[in-house]
């Protein structure tokens, strides 16, 4: 197994900033939490490999990191041997023990600090606002069962990073679920104009228990979308969402029109098919704002 490597360095964050913003790296997924898996260790490794193949940055920690190392392919190699340990597209990065989850949250905070020059000291709300609206990161506690895992999940969702847990996670008896059918829930301030703008249900949930790894994978791709995605970034994220949904659910997702803001968001290889769907559902073009939930960050009042 790959040794836990500790904090993600500033220079590594700088190297992936462009690709993350442009969408070449569709998101950062963190496989964390305990090993109370519904169907054994294999599933968590399958999730890691699936997302590494799709050029997401895959971070692992604690029991989940160990479980991934326990699964070998037909050549006897673990995912750590097949994928690089760099904080970059397609890497599977073991940050260390369960308490090293702080390094994953730290990486998200560093993105806000380095690229948006957000002040770090006493400035939690602006950093959480930045991460919620811009950083396509998702945490997955596939075997989460402990109180420690619950508090780690809590630390992530309050930072604006959605967390998916396996079926046993339902026993935490708390979910933070959005309602994509309530359009009024999905408005943000445009920091440029001060206008309230509909951005769609991104990210739809902040804490959600799912039943199967297939459901988790589709939801992970969906929860990586953010209001501030560039058109290229949204297009790549939608490609993965649609592709996973088609393969695992057998259909194009019903909620697809909610995630398309302009026609430039539509994945180019599926354009005709998706435009037909958009037209049949009465889709209307929208704008891409400079999103924030904090009125104090509005630069000009509309």
């Amino acid at each position: 197994m790959r040794t836990g490597r500790g904090a993600i360095q500033d220079v590594e964050i700088r190297n992936v900033g462009g690709p993350i913003v442009m969408g070449e790296i569709p998101g950062v997924v963190a496989l964390v939490g305990c090993s109370n898996y519904p169907k054994g260790v294999k599933e968590v490794a399958e999730i890691a490999v699936e997302f590494a193949k799709r050029h997401y940055i895959v971070l692992t920690s604690g029991c989940a990191a160990m479980s991934i190392a326990a699964v070998k392919d037909e050549e006897g190699k673990s995912p750590y041997e097949n994928y690089p340990g760099t904080f970059d597209a397609g890497g599977i990065v073991n940050v260390g023990s369960c308490v090293s989850n702080a390094h994953i949250a730290g990486a998200a905070i560093k993105i806000a600090s380095i690229f948006a020059k957000r002040r770090l000291r006493g400035n939690y709300e602006e950093i959480a606002d930045y991460i919620l609206n811009r950083v396509g990161a998702v945490g997955v506690g596939w075997g989460a069962m402990s109180q420690k895992a619950a508090s780690i999940a809590s630390g992530f969702w309050r930072l604006g990073i959605p967390v998916i847990v396996g079926p046993h996670g339902s026993k935490y008896r708390r979910m933070l679920l959005g309602r994509q059918d309530l359009a009024e829930d999905w408005y943000v301030h445009d920091a440029r104009s001060g206008r309230r703008i509909y951005v769609g249900p991104v990210p739809e949930h902040l804490f959600c228990a799912v039943e199967t790894k297939e459901e988790a994978m589709v939801l992970m791709a969906k929860l990586c979308m953010r209001p501030n995605d560039t058109s290229k970034g949204r297009s790549i994220k939608l490609t993965h969402y649609i592709d996973l949904s088609r393969r695992l659910y057998g259909s194009i997702p019903d909620d697809l029109p909610l995630f398309v803001r302009t026609l430039a968001d539509v994945p180019i290889t599926m354009k005709d098919e998706i435009v037909n769907i958009l037209n049949s559902k009465g889709w209307k073009e929208n704008v891409i704002p400079d999103p924030t939930l904090l009125p104090k960050l509005i630069r000009e009042r509309g």
Partner: protein, 181 residues
């Protein structure tokens, strides 16, 4: 048939209000016929469990077709329905649909108004337990029915702990009483 109404999972203590036991499967078909707005929620274990005649999901499709109930598939069950040429009405996470059922202002997946009966089948036992507990406390106008083979005391109605043979017979009777064969 020996009626066992102990919770299937130890240490799951339901409180004073427990599900009425469905001693005859005809009760389920009567509940469905009487309901104005029923909803069937199907989880992934309906794919995994194979009964002698066919898999659970095949029986569920026959129930849905005969009773004309809208179906919500959770997890990746939609794929299995599509393989059997059955179109579900929605595919949502189980906790998401439960959350919506708790909202008295939810118009439903078709916009036709709130549901008065929710039938659950195929969710993991402990997950269904928690969802039914939430609905029992926060959705007072909704009746819930568990169609699984283990007693779910948090539902309004549930089968007792039955064998897979008894369960299959029950599903067949429900289908017959709904006009199927």
């Amino acid at each position: 048939m020996v009626v066992s109404t102990e919770p299937w999972q130890k240490a799951e203590i339901p409180g004073p209000s427990k599900a009425q036991v469905i001693t005859k499967p005809e009760v389920v078909s009567a509940l469905i016929k009487r309901a104005k707005r029923p909803l069937l929620i199907v989880g992934h274990t309906s794919i995994d469990v194979q009964l002698t005649g066919s898999s659970v999901i095949d029986y569920i499709i026959r129930i849905a077709e005969n009773a004309k109930i809208p179906v919500v598939a959770t997890a990746h069950v939609e794929n299995e329905f599509l393989k059997r040429k059955f179109q579900v009405d929605a595919s949502l996470p189980a906790v998401d649909v439960a959350n919506r059922l708790c909202d008295p202002n939810w118009k439903g997946i078709d916009g036709g108004g709130p549901y008065d009966l929710a039938l659950f089948v195929g969710l993991p036992y402990y997950m269904q337990w928690l969802i039914l507990s939430g609905l029992k406390h926060f959705s007072p106008n909704l009746k819930t029915v568990s169609l699984d083979m283990h007693y779910q005391p948090q539902a309004s109605w549930s089968f007792s702990n039955v064998t897979s043979q008894e369960w299959e017979e029950n599903l067949k009777v429900i289908i017959q009483k709904l006009g199927g064969n």
